[in-house]
Each structure stands twice: as C-alpha cells, then as structure tokens.
C-alpha cells in the first residue's frame, strides 16, 4: 500500500514538472549551431530539378509551418527563425540540410532525419524560393 502511494505521488510530481517546463525559452540565434565543414560543403543533388520545390513546399507546410509560419517568416510565440533573413539564406544548401536533419534540440528545433534524404533536399529547394 505504501509503495502504491509513493508511486502515485511520484507520478503526480512528474506531471507537475512536465507542466512547468514545457514552455519554449526565448529564441536567440545559436552561434554554436553550425554545420561541420564537410556537411556545409555538400551540394543539393536536386539543384538542377527546381520543379521539385513544389514537393518541398508541401513538406514545409507539413513539417515546418508549425514553428516557422506558413510564409516562413517565423512565429514570435515560437521564437523561431525568419527563413527569409540573409542570415539564413546566406547559408549553403549543405548547411541548411544539416540543420534540418540534426535539429537543435537544446533550442527547440527537432531533428527531421526521419524524412527521407531526398525530401529534405526538396525542403532546401523550397527554402531557396523564399529568397525570391
């Protein structure tokens, strides 16, 4: 009986902790979030097929819009990056691909490595259209 009470108390404590920490911290760009040089140098294998950016848009709307907004300009409440900014667009295709694949778990950006590799490159293709 004592064990049961202790376990129930532990369960409730965990729920309270979860409720307390589930808020995202304020977004600030993370200077430590840099793709390794070999990853940043990778070129987009779909670069010569710009028509695939349409599929990239669909994937963006499915996976990214929640934090970056439908127009990719970021959401204040999510403290997420505006993907139109030169600081983003100046990054290489390889660097964007690496960031999509790895995420930045400490700063609220999940990893999307479960998306097939070619589809991640399609997202990069679409991100480039935001610059135009």
């Amino acid at each position: 009986m004592t064990m049961r009470i202790a376990l129930t108390a532990a369960f409730l404590t965990i729920l309270l902790v979860i409720a307390g920490v589930s808020e995202n911290p304020d977004y600030k760009s993370d200077p430590n979030w840099q793709a390794p040089p070999e990853a940043a140098q990778k070129s987009n294998p779909l670069a010569k097929r710009p028509q695939l950016a349409g599929g990239g848009r669909k994937l963006f709307l499915r996976n990214c819009v929640e934090c970056h907004g439908e127009d990719g300009r970021g959401l204040e409440k999510k403290h997420s990056a505006n993907l139109h900014l030169p600081a983003v667009q100046a990054q290489s295709d390889g660097s964007l691909f690496w960031k999509i694949s790895n995420g930045n778990l400490g700063r609220g950006m999940p990893s999307f490595s479960q998306i097939p590799e070619q589809q991640r490159w399609q997202i990069v293709l679409y991100l480039r259209t935001l610059d135009k």
């Binding site: 979860i18 589930s22 990239g56 499915r62 790895n102 778990l105 998306i115 097939p116």
Partner: protein
C-alpha cells in the same frame, strides 16, 4: 474541442507498433492514438481484443511523455479495464549520429489480464484463466528500454533492449528485445496533396520477443513474433498503422492483428496554457 484546436503537422513516422525509434514527439504537440491488439489464441484458449488509447506529448525536443489506457475483452468472457502506463523517453545526444540512443522509463499499473502486448518480456504467459480472476492480480511494474536507432539511405533500423521489474511479485528482472526495419515506399514528394501516392506509405518488419528473466535467462518457453508493418499517412495530421504479427514459437499466440489510428493535435501545450490564462 480537440478537433477545434487541431491543425496540420504529422512528420512521417516509423510504422512500428512495438519497436521505438529515436524520433520524439515535437514539443507542445499531442498525438492521440486509438489502437487495438487482436489475438488469435492457441487451440485451447480464447481469441481476445485489447484496445488501448495512447496520449503522447512532446514535453521538450529531447523529452516525450506518454500515457496509455488499456482494456481487454475475450470471446465468451468479460470486457475489463486492464490499467494504465506512463512512460517517458529521453534523447541524451543533441545531434544525429550513426546510432542514436534514447532512454525509456515506464511505470505500469496494470493487472494480469493486460494483453496489448506493447512489449514482450520474460516467459510466455498462460492465458486460459478467466478475466475475473486475472484482474484480481495487480502488476505494478517498472520498465526500462535502451533504444538504439539509425537512419541510413532512407532506411530506419531500430533495436530496443528491454528490462522489466514487477514490483508486486518476485519474478526477478524480465528481459525482452525488439528490432525494426522500415523504409518509405517513395523518397521524393510530389507537389500535389495526394492521399494514395507511394510517398505516404512506410513499410517494414518487426521482430520481437522475450528473453526470460534473471531467474532463468534464455529463449526457453518464450514468445517471439515476426511482424510486417505498414503505415499510411492519410492526411497531414493523421495516419493509420497496420501489422499482422505471426507467432514463431510454441509460447506465442499464432497471430496478433494490430491496428491504430493516430491524430496529431498541433501546439496543444500552448493552446491549453492560453485556455487557462497563461500567455
């Protein structure tokens, strides 16, 4: 109310029922799954249905919490509530690696009638006893898993090593495993919002079973299954998973039919917070 709160977003998921990969729920999202494990029992026993509800919440990018509520019904017997489980998964490494570990910790407050079989541990169980009797035996269990998962060339390969301790009875530590391999049927996305195109399907296979306990480690008298799995992303925020699991040892049920429907509620945490006056 959930439907009012819901918008899009369900990242492509592994199709497994038993095996976990290293991908966690996105922070603030709530994934609601309604699932069933149907068991075609051995000759002298009764076919059963074990429906359950999974509520999976992304607490942080590196931490996912999940609550299970489960039931069981057997042909010619009663239908009963078999208990609840609360699990947490933690991803200790911040970057993708060749092998990505996740630590899993679960508390189970169930009874011996539980048949959802989200994991198989220890030795094969006798299920010829009526539900009325089984429900009297409570099982308070702690379960840990080491989840190892890799994504390579569009394949996901995941291995789970399971250790379970029943706090209510002296059964020693029970062990189990599961292994899953899966791949999407197409790796390029079309621009159209098609429902039946190949990119919306992920197929694979799972192998899982018990490895005995600290009182008798090994494969003797254990249950093992091989299970083709397939998932279909029906829309941006819902998916259907299906798996026929085939028992491959004497201690296994001949066939388990698993089915689930999953619906993801985006930004659930923030919506709930604002509902209660927090910005």
């Amino acid at each position: 109310m959930l439907l009012l709160l819901a918008t899009t977003a369900l990242a492509q998921e592994a199709p497994y029922f038993v095996t976990y990969d290293h991908h966690l729920e996105e922070p603030g999202n709530l994934e609601v799954s309604i699932a069933n494990t149907g068991g075609l029992a051995r000759a002298d026993q009764r076919t059963y249905f074990a429906p359950y509800i999974e509520l999976e919440y992304g607490t942080k990018t590196w931490w996912t919490s999940e609550l299970y509520l489960e039931w069981q019904s057997r042909l010619g017997d009663s239908a009963i509530f078999t208990g609840w489980r609360f699990e947490n998964r933690f991803r200790p490494l911040s970057r993708e690696h060749w092998i990505n570990p996740v630590l899993y910790l679960e508390y189970e407050n169930i009874n011996e009638a539980s048949r959802i079989q989200k994991e198989i541990v220890g030795n094969a169980r006798e299920i010829g006893v009526p539900n009325a009797e089984l429900r009297q035996t409570a099982a308070h269990e702690l379960e840990t898993k080491l989840i190892l998962s890799s994504n390579t060339h569009n394949w996901n390969i995941s291995e789970n090593f399971i250790v379970e301790k029943n706090l209510s009875e002296e059964e020693g530590f029970e062990f189990g495993y599961s292994i899953g391999v899966s791949r999407p049927l197409a790796t390029l996305a079309s621009a159209s919002n098609c429902r039946f195109c190949r990119e919306n399907f992920v197929a694979g296979v799972e192998l899982y079973g018990g490895l005995g306990s600290s009182l008798g480690f090994g494969l003797h008298d254990t249950a093992h299954y091989i299970a083709p799995v397939i998932s279909w992303q029906v829309s941006d925020n819902s998916s259907i998973h299906f798996s026929p699991s085939i028992g491959i040892t004497h201690g296994s049920d001949p066939l388990l039919i698993r089915f689930s429907y999953t619906y993801e509620v985006r930004d659930f945490g923030s919506k709930m917070a604002s509902l209660f006056g927090r910005r």
